[in-house]
């Protein structure tokens, strides 16, 4: 005890007690402060924080619907959904990015392009813990390899998503169209709620036209997530309504035949069932494999397709606008009869040329020597130009425009065909507006044989043929035949708007058709070679469209030009005559004459449709269907 000063222990004790009392008050005050604070948070503000807490943990997630399937008329699957596997990395959970990428390259085929895209996304601003895709569309071998090595790669995940697949590839690319990833422009157009979980949207064709039907209605689920957004459990779920499965009028066997018939050429075939307007075949050759567009085509592949001079991406059937040439003669003949510009018996002398005035320009007949005396039926059968030059002058542009318009020229008469072009049906007004020139009589002469300004798509020619076969009753062309599970197509398929073409004398239909029968079966018919030996009667008309000049960007190449300068071969027709089952329009670019190139194609189509497909079982259809099942 080395106390150097006097200590009053009792006083010190009292001092301490007083100080302790102060501290006790402080202690109680601070404790009350804490209690008040907790009371405020837990009782007063409880509702607010409860809501915050729930909003934290519960998230609404969209559940995308599965896209409806597309079948042909015989239930062959044309568009299906296949699981596609991709590898994604969550950078926050990858311990060493470079090592991981290097190791993944030992297992997966990762191209420099994949890597570069991945690194670019890695550098960009993004939500923490969100995955970045490295490779799409793993093959089975790679999926298996990933499954085996997965534990070695924290932060690397294999994701599956359902992706559209077209088992028939290029056969259906132009008829069905295809889906692709939603782009910025589409993002503005679509309902953000319904597409919240959807990555793909119909880009063209049936896929685009029936997008709403095929897409279905999005579902959603409330999920509990942790702070990193990982789903821990599903609290409740409203299932999506899957897209409707639809059945088309298309017959994939006929489609396949059309492709086979045009193999190695450029051209289009459109086949329509006149009674229903159902599109049986819609072929544009060459075509492309739509599957490569679904997940995103590489730049090089796209350039190759886009720059090919055969233009595989171009839908010739719907968007190829050609001078229809002589193929419009039967329709003009019917128009001539109905308008009184000519009669069935009226004869015209064809010296090989036609002049509007006795000293005027000579419009040549395709037969330089002329056909001699021709009436309407013979002029269609031999495709006499002079008769129609004369008829065109007699009818005038207004009447020709009026009647041809009834047959669907110059407009899109389809009910559900996306991207069909209207062609060009010239008129006085059109010429005044587009060319700022008056309509000259010579324009009528050119128009009367489907040349000059007039343009039509193969699809329009097939539609005009079908309405002719129906004796003027329209069944507007359509792709959709059925929606699986629906009784009717009311409210799904657009209403028909075209009235029937009423002729003053309805017999003129049969007469007009007989002129077309004469083409196929008459002694002088231009397509008699194609009509020979048929067990049924068919009606048709050949046509030839001149290719006037080279496009500016084409190079001069003697061999090529020779082929590319040849006329386009056209044909339209239907069969059988008394009860038409199929109407076909064919165009073979640079195919030469319609009778020699296009008509045999149509005949093969008729035969297959009316007499049955030869060797049905061994066809591509059977093979691909079987393959499709294996994949599934």
């Amino acid at each position: 005890m080395s106390w150097d000063e006097f200590k009053d222990t009792a006083a010190e004790r009292r001092l301490f007690q007083r100080r302790l009392l102060v501290m006790l008050f402080l202690l109680i005050a601070l404790t009350c402060l804490l209690v008040a604070r907790l009371y405020y948070l837990q009782i007063v503000q409880h509702e607010t924080f409860s809501t915050l807490s729930d909003r934290n943990r519960v998230q609404v997630q969209p559940v995308p619907p599965t896209r409806g399937l597309i079948y042909d008329r015989n239930d062959h699957l044309l568009a299906e959904n296949r699981p596609v596997f991709s590898v994604t990395l969550i950078p926050e959970r990858v311990p060493n990015m470079e090592d991981t990428l290097h190791a993944l390259q030992q297992i997966l085929a990762v191209t420099d392009e994949d890597l570069e895209r991945f690194r670019r996304r890695l550098r960009e601003a993004r939500r923490p813990h969100s995955p970045i895709p490295l490779r799409y569309d793993l093959n089975e071998h790679e999926i298996a390899a990933m499954a085996v090595h997965r534990h070695q790669f924290p932060g690397v995940e294999v994701d599956a998503e359902l992706v559209r697949h077209y088992p028939f590839g290029e056969l259906t690319a132009h008829a069905l169209g295809y889906v692709g990833r939603i782009n910025r422009e589409e993002l503005r157009r679509i309902d953000p709620v319904n597409y919240a979980g959807t990555n793909y949207i119909g880009k063209s064709g049936v896929e685009r036209f029936y997008e709403e039907l095929l897409h279905g209605r999005v579902g959603y689920q409330h999920v509990e997530t942790n702070a990193r957004g990982r789903v821990l459990r599903v609290l409740d779920r409203v299932n999506p309504r899957p897209g409707e499965d639809i059945k088309l009028h298309l017959d994939i066997r006929l489609q396949e035949l059309a492709f086979k018939l045009l193999e190695g050429r450029r051209g289009a075939i459109v086949a329509i069932e006149p009674e229903t307007g159902g599109i049986l075949a819609l072929a544009s050759v060459p075509s492309f494999d739509a599957n490569q567009f679904v997940t995103g085509i590489s730049v090089a592949d796209y350039r190759e397709l886009n720059e090919s001079r055969d233009k595989p991406l171009f839908n010739r059937a719907l968007r190829g606008q050609y001078p229809p040439g002589s193929t419009i003669k039967p329709m003009l003949g019917i128009a001539g009869l109905d308008s009184g510009a000519t009669t069935r018996d009226r004869m015209v002398w064809d010296p090989g040329y036609f002049q509007i005035t006795p000293t005027g320009r000579r419009y040549r007949d395709w037969l330089r020597t002329g056909h001699g005396w021709v009436d309407l039926k013979r002029s269609v059968a031999v495709s006499c130009d002079v008769y129609f030059y004369d008829l065109g002058m007699r009818m005038g542009v207004d009447a020709m425009h009026e009647y041809l318009s009834l047959f669907g020229f110059g407009r899109d008469v389809s009910l559900d065909v996306r991207g069909a072009l209207p062609g060009l049906l010239p008129s006085r007004d059109w010429k005044r507006g587009a060319r700022n020139e008056p309509w000259y009589p010579g324009d009528s002469v050119n128009m009367s044989i489907g040349q000059g300004y007039m343009l039509a798509t193969p699809f329009q020619l097939a539609a005009a043929t079908a309405v002719t076969a129906n004796r003027g009753v329209w069944a507007q062309p359509r792709m959709l035949r059925d929606v699986v599970g629906h009784e009717t197509l009311d409210g799904i398929l657009a209403e028909e708007t075209l009235p029937p073409i009423n002729l003053k004398n309805p017999d003129d239909w049969d007469f007009g058709i007989r002129t077309m029968v004469e083409v196929m079966h008459g002694r002088e018919g231009t397509a008699r070679a194609s009509g020979r030996g048929a067990t049924y009667q068919m009606a048709g008309k050949t046509g030839t469209a001149q290719v006037f000049s080279l496009a500016e960007d084409q190079e001069y190449n003697e061999d090529e030009i020779h082929e590319r300068l040849r006329d386009h071969a056209l044909f339209l027709g239907f069969a059988p005559v008394d009860k038409p089952k199929i109407a076909v329009a064919v165009i073979v670019e640079n195919g030469g004459g319609g009778s020699s190139t296009a008509a045999p194609v149509a005949r093969a189509m008729f035969d297959a449709w009316l007499l049955g497909f030869e060797d049905d079982k061994a066809g591509v259809v059977a093979q691909r269907s079987a393959g499709g099942r294996d994949d599934g």
């Binding site: 106390w3 200590k7 301490f16 007690q17 302790l20 202690l27 409880h46 924080f49 934290n56 509990e224």
Partner: protein, 380 residues
């Protein structure tokens, strides 16, 4: 022991019969029961806050085992032993703090640990939570109380020197606790109210200077975030928003044990360490937090009772300061988690996982028990 033996042998004086075996072990049984209650309840909350991870529970149990052992040992030593050793312990601790600044190890921009060869890693700053009040109590109780101004100045220097060193690490939370432990001693010693008033005036003027010259950027950020957590909801404000959400969503009776969504879905940061009271508040509600506060208050009241009944000024000052430091722990931790104090690294005493703080705290309770159980009966 010598004095005790002496008392024992005094004629006519024998130790009262009522003293139990716990008292013979120098254990204060009400305090022990309360501490065990707190530790057990804390483990229940920790089980949830640590996501039911076995290794956390096992490690915490080991730590408590060690801590109760330390308490037991500390309770055996006579207060006079602490008084004798106080200056040397203080010097050793101070040397440790200097060593930390020179050769310390640590993480996240702070140097707090000393890793000397042959010794387990330890935090000298943690040691000073006891070392500083010991030294202050030793120094002030050598003289008459209340102390005169020069002695107050020396005592304040004894407190502020280690506090400054700890702030340099930087470790604001520990500096705060060490500083308050020392200042409580000075306060209990009877420092004049005029000086206290002057001190607060000084703080008021020093605060702006501190802001511009002393506080680190991250410390300023914590204070700014406290004032407006919404200004940086995903960054610095995240912790405070999420912990307030956890507490508030608990309501009156809570979401139930292991049912707290904020903690179990990882929204709540540090849910088993500094923010564990938010887990309690979320799962057991207002009632649960009140129960916890009640246990803390009972412990504190028991300790204050021990302080009042201490037999000499050294013991009183030490016991009072250690008790109030314990309260500061509780107040600062709950205050920061509930958003009325800035976030400083102060654990919830005896509940938060880990840290040497459990051992230090139990050592302090050992000293308190020592103060209580080594009273001489002569003036009883």
């Amino acid at each position: 022991m010598a004095r005790r033996d002496f008392v024992h042998r005094m004629p006519g004086h024998s130790l009262p019969e009522r003293r139990s075996w716990l008292a013979a072990l120098h254990i204060d049984w009400p305090l022990l029961v309360l501490l065990l209650l707190l530790a057990a309840g804390g483990m229940v909350v920790l089980y949830s806050g640590g996501d039911a991870r076995r290794e956390i529970i096992e490690a915490q149990l080991m730590r408590f085992g060690l801590a109760f052992g330390v308490m037991f040992v500390f309770a055996q030593l006579d207060p006079s032993v602490y008084r004798r050793w106080a200056p040397w312990l203080y010097v050793v601790g101070l040397a440790g703090l200097v060593a930390v600044l020179l050769i310390g190890v640590g993480a996240k921009g702070a140097q707090r640990w000393l890793a000397l060869p042959g010794l387990p890693r330890f935090q000298p700053s943690e040691f000073m939570k006891i070392g500083v009040p010991l030294a202050a109590a030793w120094y002030l109780s050598r003289y008459y109380l209340p102390p005169k101004f020069s002695r107050v100045a020396v005592a304040l220097a004894l407190v502020l020197l280690p506090m400054m060193l700890i702030m340099r690490q930087p470790d604001l939370g520990t500096a705060l606790l060490v500083g308050s432990a020392g200042l409580f001693v000075v306060f209990f010693a009877g420092i004049s109210w005029r000086l206290i008033g002057g001190f607060f005036a000084l703080v008021a003027t020093a605060a702006p200077l501190m802001w511009f010259f002393v506080l680190r950027e991250y410390q300023k950020q914590r204070i700014l975030t406290l004032l407006d957590p919404g200004s940086d909801p995903l960054g610095a404000g995240w912790n405070i928003i999420q912990s307030k959400t956890a507490i508030g969503s608990g309501g009156m009776s809570g979401k139930g044990w292991l049912q707290g969504t904020q903690s179990h879905l990882d929204f709540l940061p540090e849910s088993h360490t500094d923010f564990i009271v938010a887990v309690l508040a979320e799962e057991f509600g207002f009632i649960g937090v009140l129960a916890l506060l009640a246990v803390y208050l009972l412990i504190i009241l028991r300790c204050l009772y021990i302080a009042v009944n201490a037999q000499d000024s050294f013991s009183r000052l030490l016991a009072g300061a250690l008790t109030m430091t314990f309260f500061i722990y509780v107040f600062v931790n709950i205050g920061m988690v509930s958003g009325i104090l800035p976030i400083v690294g102060v654990p919830l005493p005896l509940v938060s996982y880990g840290g040497t703080s459990i051992v230090t705290l139990m050592a302090a309770f050992g000293i308190l028990m020592s103060v209580h159980t080594h009273r001489r009966m002569i003036d009883a």
